[in-house]
Amino acid sequence: MTATEVPQAVSAVTGVRPPRRRRSWRRVWMGVLALALTGVVWQIAAVLIGDSVTLPTVPETARTFVKYLSTPYPEVQGKTLVEDALISTGRILAGFVLGTVAGLLLGASMAGVRLVRELADPLIGVMRPLPPIAFIPLLVVWFGIGEVSKVALIFFGVLPVVTIATLGALDAVPAELLHASRSLGASPVYTMLHVRLRAAVPGVITGMRIAMGGAWTSIIAAEMIAATGGVGFLILQAGNYLQTPLIFSGIAEIAVLGFAFDGLLRLLLRLADPTVRR
């Protein structure tokens, strides 16, 4: 085999897939196109309706969005879109990190210790179908309308999801994979860290993605009910004063933040699991 033949031969012989750059760019452009089409439909509908309280036009919404990025709303004691976004993101991050760590520990100990599993399983089973927002009034009674109640809300929403994902992912690691590691000479501890936990990482990250979606639902609801800042609070205020363009601005902001966080977790998944890399 000469040197020039090598690259082609490698993919033919090894079955190693060539990189799929072009395809992923196609997906990006199709996504942009879908967004643009949505904008066009929105604009046509807005022009036909002709009432900016019911449905503002796209340029008007965009102008409002840009304006309130640096202008506080409401004007007295209000905050800018950027500040609200930072407040909401901070709450999410604090609750999400705490909930994920606790869920990882709980899920791992459930997978490892039978007594813990038998005790925690029914609790998680009862807790999981409960919508976290049902706890908002209780958390306000306990912790007030400050940051603690928000973080606690996210925490209790994230915890069961990550716990179940961790437990499921650890249970799904085949015993033979652990046997393979042991018979290659790895100690039980090395096998635990480098095979069992490692094999569970993609499942845990998938659980984190689901939990992140739920966390945004909870935080916006909480900020609408009891808060003095955050994107949910902004949307509610804008609604009270029929500031429809600002409502859309807030929603768009949530969409962007949610997409960004999911993108980060997807990136993490790609790093952890070569089978999803393309």
Partner: protein
């Protein structure tokens, strides 16, 4: 399947690659009255093995043959040290088996590669886990990848490999530990017929050169006849040794031998014991 054709593993092509690496010392296996019962809640346990005795010579290729549920996999798991025997004596290389270890290489029904590691990292897993990663080990890993025909796939992840390539990667991952015994649990059972024939040929050529002891579990009479020096037919369930049949077909064997009269006769002898 043209994949396997295009780049055949270099084992047995006369290049002698494996010969410049000292062959591992083949270990013998000795089983005496080995019994195993799996307990079930509030019911009498299921006896998987009922007093199995068996000797495997160093460097011998022994096939364990029997119907499903006869305990042949259990026997292999006991040899590998994954489950303890309830009673009886289990010796590999003269030492009692107390747990899994790199002196006994295990190949499973599926390759059980670590999906997050490349072929190269998979092969080096054992030495790395034991903290014995040296430049010599790297060289040997390179040689082994060449031996199993995966030199070009060294940075590929398992999901990017074909079925046969994954099995060959699993071979390399085990062989880097220089095990005295290879324990194989229906390793080609999940492969398609053509890949399977290629893997059998690969295994025969590998064994012809390395001469490690092999205990090979199968339920395929033809496979057992083609590969084994002896075939141990297990009865069951519960499993016990029914008969140990010598296969005196000439070595080295190849796939063409399956059409000879001696081969067919050997197969018939095994089948008669199975149906007894």
């Amino acid at each position: 399947m043209s994949l396997l054709r295009q780049r055949r593993p270099v084992v047995g092509t006369g290049s002698g690659r494996l010969l410049d690496q000292e062959p591992a010392d083949a270990a013998g296996v000795r089983l005496r009255e080995v019994s195993k019962t799996f307990s079930r809640r509030r019911r009498p346990g299921r006896t998987a093995l009922d007093g199995v005795s068996l000797d495997v010579e160093p460097g011998e290729f022994l096939c364990l043959l029997g119907p499903s549920g006869c305990g042949k996999s259990t026997l292999l798991n006991i040899l590998a040290g994954f489950v303890p025997a309830d009673s009886g004596e289990v010796l590999v290389g003269g030492r009692p088996v107390t747990g899994p270890g790199p002196d006994r290489g295990v190949l499973f029904q599926t390759p059980m590669l670590f999906s997050w590691l490349t072929t190269w990292q998979n092969v080096l897993y054992g030495p790395k886990a034991r903290g014995t990663l040296t430049p010599q080990v790297h060289e040997e890993a390179e040689r082994l990848l060449e031996t199993v025909g995966l030199a070009d796939a060294r940075d590929a992840y398992p999901h990017e490999l074909s079925g046969g390539m994954r099995h060959r990667a699993a071979f390399a991952r085990v062989l880097i530990n220089r095990p005295g015994v290879l324990l194989m649990d229906e390793p080609f059972g999940a492969l398609d017929a053509i890949t399977r024939a290629a893997m059998q040929r690969f295994l025969l050529e590998l064994w012809q050169q390395q001469r490690m002891t092999i205990v090979f579990v199968t339920h395929d009479v033809e496979e057992a006849t083609l590969l084994g020096d002896r075939v141990c037919v297990l009865s069951g369930p519960p499993g016990g040794t029914k008969a140990v049949i010598d296969i005196d077909l000439r070595r080295p064997r190849s796939y063409d031998d399956t059409e000879t009269l001696e081969f067919v006769n050997a197969k018939r002898r095994i089948r008669e014991v199975l149906e007894r």
